[in-house]
Structure formats: structure tokens, C-alpha cells
């Protein structure tokens, strides 16, 4: 799977699944791609993405927040590698459109608060300072937010989780890093018995439910 040419796509690349044999081949192929991403994960930055709803600055701030909520670390890639920010950015032009104003004002307030406290915008802070800012935001101790800052935090956290662990159709969970993180073996239209056995095979299949043409698609 080519991970370097996705910015113009409105949908995730799909693994062709004509039959079970090629599906298994695809699993192996996808496994190679996952390893590559894990290695280069820290190099993947917001700049590689052209946002479709947010401004580039807003997107960079959001991506930095996602990267601290579910960090890339010794346990593997996180929300940045899952492209949770891309999921949110696309959603804010669609199914999440009602939250767009909250994102715009909240991300602006986050940068103002970071500037006031540390002298620079959120994305440019050290990870330690980013965490301190996010703790203040979660604890309702950050000023300048429309409602209270904890409400903004909870909304973003909820969407980052969606962007990390939902079907890749929606633009997040890139390369299935979210599902691999928690060991979810993948969405399946039929589940062999061994996948419900503790000593059975649990190889992830790395497909989107809409790789099959069986279903009407959800709203992006």
C-alpha cells in the first residue's frame, strides 16, 4: 500500500479483495506497510496533509493535540499516524459540520492560551509543555474558551478516538494503526470460529467494511 500519495484522495485506498486467497496475500502486504509506517511514524507530520475544511494552521494545532492524546511511543504509532486530524477535518465538512465553529474558536483559544503561558502556539511547544497545556484545558483551568475548556477537550478527545479507531473509510485509522494498536482483528462479514478462541488465529484482515460493495456507505 502506498502511503505517500493520499492527499488528493477523498477516500482511502482499498485493498482489492476478489477472493479469500488474495485477501490473505493482502494481509501480508499490509503488514509490511504497517511496519514501514511504524518506523517512519515520527516523521509523519501535519505538513503532509492538505486540510479540506480547517486552515493549515488550525490543522497543525489539531494534529499536535491528537499526537499527545494518543502518542506515538514505544508501544507503537498513535493518533497522528492514524491521521485522526484528517478524519476530523473531513468530518467538519460533513457529518461533524455542527462542530466546526467550536473547533475554530477552540483551536484559536488553545493557541492564545499556549502563547500566554509559554510564549508560542501549541504546535511549537515541547511535548512536556503541550501536556501541561492539555491538562489545564481538560481541568477547565484554561481561559479564553467559549464554553469551558474541559468541554472542548472532551469533544476533541472523543473525535480523536473516533479518528483512530473507526473504519478507515472515514479518513482516520490510517493503515489500520488504531485497530492494530488494540488488537482488533478487523471488521468481517463472517467470522470463523477460531477468531472466538483464545488460542485461535487472530490475524488482522486490514479491510474497510466498504471494501466490499455489499453495503450503502456512511456519511463522511
Amino acid at each position: 500500500m502506498d502511503t505517500g500519495n493520499e492527499k488528493d484522495e477523498t477516500r482511502l485506498p482499498r485493498i482489492p479483495q476478489p477472493d479469500l486467497v488474495s485477501r490473505r496475500t493482502a494481509i501480508k502486504t499490509a503488514g509490511v506497510a504497517i511496519s514501514a509506517v511504524a518506523v517512519s511514524g515520527s516523521a509523519l507530520s501535519a505538513q503532509s496533509e492538505t486540510p479540506v475544511t480547517l486552515t493549515p494552521a488550525e490543522y497543525a494545532t489539531l494534529d499536535a493535540v491528537a499526537a499527545r492524546l494518543i502518542p506515538s511511543d514505544a508501544n507503537g504509532p498513535g493518533a497522528r499516524e492514524a491521521r485522526a486530524a484528517r478524519f476530523i477535518d473531513r468530518g467538519l465538512g460533513g457529518a461533524l459540520r455542527d462542530a466546526l465553529d467550536q473547533y475554530r474558536s477552540g483551536l484559536a483559544a488553545l493557541d492564545v492560551f499556549s502563547n500566554t503561558a509559554y510564549g508560542t502556539g501549541f504546535a511549537a511547544l515541547s511535548e512536556t509543555d503541550q501536556d501541561a497545556v492539555l491538562e489545564a484545558v481538560q481541568d477547565n483551568e484554561a481561559s479564553g474558551f467559549d464554553e469551558n475548556s474541559g468541554q472542548f477537550f472532551n469533544m476533541v478527545r472523543g473525535h480523536v478516538i473516533q479518528g483512530t479507531f473507526s473504519d478507515p473509510f472515514y479518513g482516520g485509522n490510517d493503515n489500520f494503526v488504531g485497530w492494530d494498536m488494540i488488537g482488533y482483528p478487523g471488521v468481517r462479514t463472517a467470522v470463523p470460529a477460531q477468531y472466538q478462541q483464545m488460542d485461535g488465529e487472530h490475524t488482522p484482515n486490514h479491510v474497510s467494511v466498504y471494501d466490499s460493495t455489499m453495503f450503502d456507505e456512511g456519511e463522511l
Binding site: R68, G200, G218
Partner: protein
Amino acid sequence: MARQLNPTDVVIVGAGAVGGVAALPLAEAGLRVIGLEAGSWLSTRDMAPDELKLNRGLWPPGPQKVNGEISTSRANESQTANPGFNHPMMNAVGGTSNHYMAQAWRLNPWDFRVVSATRERYGGGRLPDDSTVEDWPISYDELEPFYDAVEYGIGVSGRAGNVDGRIDPDGNVFEGRRAREYPMPGLRMTSFMERMRDAARSLDWNPFLAPAAIASEPYAGRPACVYHGYCLGGGCHVNAKSSTSVTTIPRAAATGQYEVVTEAHATRIRTDGDGRVTGVTYIRNGEELFQPADVVLLGCYTYENVRLLLLSTSPAYPNGLANNARQVGRHYFSHLQFGGAGALFPFDLENWYGTPGQGICLDNWADDNFDHGDLDFIGGGSLYVYTERRPMAAVNGLGPWGREGRNWGSDWKAHLIRNVDRTNSAYIQRTTLPYEGNYLDLDPAQMDPLGDPVIRITASYRKNERRMSPFLVDKMRQWYLEAGAIQVTGTGNVGNAMGLSTHAYWGTRMGDNPNTNVVDRFGFSHEAPNLGILGGSVMGTSGARNPTLTAQALAWRTAAHLAENWDSIA
């Protein structure tokens, strides 16, 4: 003025779990039946296993009338009723049987005679003095043939424990006598279920595979379950779930006698000067229509059954249809299902797939299956564990399990990775009783989009439920620990308000006395003789069970009674 349609023999309001069952015996008897369904037909293309789509409320497709009429609720009359946020049911052909758990339980024989059985075993003083519970007017044995008809009619998988008095220790040894086995063997075992079963056996309890309205093998032209894990709250993309939309409804339609009118919003049941019902008024595509019928069967969910009756005022029924005795809405209760127990195991459970109907149950502490002599409550609960875990729900639902710290960052992520597939939550359904002061009425302040008031729930749990719950959580704790759990949570704290629920009972109580009950022992109104009522609103006790199969058995029985006594009822 509503446009008058051609008369029919029977109109059934609702083509869901109960209306979709009642249609079959009527259509097969040659009666002309029209079903009015607020939702639309769904197809397998609507059944994507897409957690985000399901969570966003974009499913099910089609008009969702229920979302405009969500009941308000309060614990007692001193409070103001709060609007509900979402309706637990859905509109579509097949109704909520499209997305329910599909657990397919019979009630225990004790549930039909709680009052007399409690007096016999413990003396009359053991009945909670504020409860209005009564024995059902019918016994388990009278309903048994209709349980059987539904189990075979829709297709239920399970392992019987009592076939004609022969006890099978691998089935539910506490169940009532049944005439024959289930039509299909139980759903497949998982290693987590085997572990829980073995643990229960080592405690000398009696675990068994729960029955489910899901095909475990090909049945009546439908394929077996594929265990994909998006069953509850979603539909089945292979039609293995025995929803009425793929079982009794198409069979009834195939007779040529049953027609479902979709996107039909029923607004009133009409009556004549003699107090007989004459048909149903509904709105479809903005047009008001009147469907005349000799008999009307009301087959909505409990809240909408009661609401349509109370809204249908007329000179013969100034307080609402079938409500001259002022009984409609009384004795309401909703099932105590929440406040279970959770466990953390020191190993992955591989519970990502499956269906909530695929589980292991214990009835040792349900109903009156154990001695209550030294206890301060009656009844009990079924202890149930099942498999099915979805990624986002698993991440959002993972508790701290002793960990301190924030719900984000590297430490939280490590906790998530380690424990996300190591937890389980038990489903403990408990005997819940009706009480004085608990009722449904029309909310004076909250209206639906047509300007009709929604239902207001005024109800609270009482001592019996509060005392029972910690006892059951303690039994569940023993079971989990025996199975190797390293932490168990749950207090059995019940809360107060008996609010909006997927398991809602009474409001149109069934009983022989016309002064204190809405319907007779066959489900027909004591006041309007050609009006039948289907669903949980006629069920007198909750037992420790999901109510759907019992409501369906009652619906089948009401329909069969109507077909056999057509001349006298119509």
C-alpha cells in the same frame, strides 16, 4: 377530513416484533390484514458493520417517528419530568426486532403466579406491601403452545432443559416444561464462554447456553449466524437474526392476505357511538387517511400503545379509548437491567466478535429458584455473560481498573493496549415489580411534531429491587473470580427513577376484572370488544428475562383467539 380507504378485516398498528407476529395466524386464517408501519423496509445493504455509522444515529434509515415522541420521565410526582435524549426503539418493518439482542426467553412458570407462589412458600407477609403485582390470568402452561409456535415460527436456537419433564443438565434445569426441543441447537461456544461455563460448574451451579432468535444453522431459507459483532443496535446483513421482517412478515405477506403500509403515522383509533372501534386514522406523505376495519390490533411499543389510547378520545371514551375505568397507564414498570458487574482478567479474552445472544446464563439466582427464607426480597436475576466488543466502544468503555491518571497520553495508551480485551460486563436482569404511584400519562408540556403530547413516565424502584441487586452482584463476583478474574467491580446500586427502557411493562394490564384491568385474558379490551392490544404493555411481570419472546407468544395467542372467534369479536 381524512380520505376514507376501503374497509379491511383487521388493521394492526405496527409491523414490528409483535404486530409482525400477529399478522401470520390471521393471514393464514384467511382474514384480510393491513399493517400500518411508521418506518420503511430495510435491506441487507443497510446493515453495514460500521461502528461509527451506528453510533452517529444515522442508522436505521427511513423515517424514525419514535424520535419525535420520546417519553419524559421523573421518579415521582414532586419532580418535573425531564425529556429523554433518545428512544430505545426503532421504526422499520420488523421494528426493533431488527436491532435487538435477540435473546429469546420464555418466562419461568413462577413469573406467572408471583403472588400465590410467594404466599404458598413464604407466607403473605413476604409480598412488598406497596406492589400492585398480581398473578397473570393465564398460566405458563396455557402460553406454552404459543411460545412453541413463535420459537418455530421465527426460528430460535437453544438447548432445552425440560422437554416434557425430562431434565437435561446441559440446558436450563429451571425452565418450565416445554413440549419439544428448540428448532435449532444453540449458537456456537467461544473459549470465554467455555471458561465461564466450567467455572460455574465448579461452583456447583447450573450454567447453560442461552436461547437466541438467531439461526445457528440454515433455517427456513435463511443462513446461519456469522458472529460478526455488530448485532445489537445494528441489523443482520445475512438475515440470520430472526427478525419478524425476514420471518413471519414475509410469510404472512405471501398468503396475499397481509399488506404492510410503510411510512404510515397512526394518529387516532376511531370509535362509534356504541364504543366499538371502527378503524385507524393515519398520516402518510402529508395526507390524512382513514383505514376502516372490523377489528383493530394495537401493536406498538408500550409507550405508544398507551399514548394512542389516551389520545383517542371520543364521546364513548372521554378519557381515552378503553379508559372509562381509568386504568390505562397504571401499574407501569420498566425492567431493572443496569447496574451489573464487570471483571478484569489477566489475559486476552478474544471477545471481539460474536453477538449478545451468544452467551452463558445462570438461573440459580433467578425467580424463585433458590430459598428466600432468610432473605429480605422476592424474585431474583439471571446472570449472563456474552461476547461482542467493538473498537470504539471498547476504548471509550475501558475503566481505570485501579489505575490512576488521565484518560490520555502514553500511560493511558499502555493501559488500553494491555487491558482492552481483558474485561467483561455481566448482564443481570432482575425481577422488577409494579407499584402504587408508578404510571404513564400524557405530558402536559412536551409535544410531538404534530402537537400531540408525549408520554410522561412517573415511576421509581423500591425496596425489593434495592435489596436484591447487591445479592446478585455478589453471586456474579463469585462466578467471575472462579473463572480467573483478578478484579470485579459493581455495587448493585440501583438508582431511583424507573425511566425509559427497552423493557417496559404494563400500562394496559391484562386481567379478568374489568374494573381494574384494561384487557382480558386474551388481550382484548374489556370496554371496546373489537380492540386487541399486543406487546409488553399487557405483560404482568418482568421475570429475569428479555420480554420479546413472551410478548410475541401473547401476540400469537391473541391473533389465534381472534381467528377462532371471528364472528363473536368482529
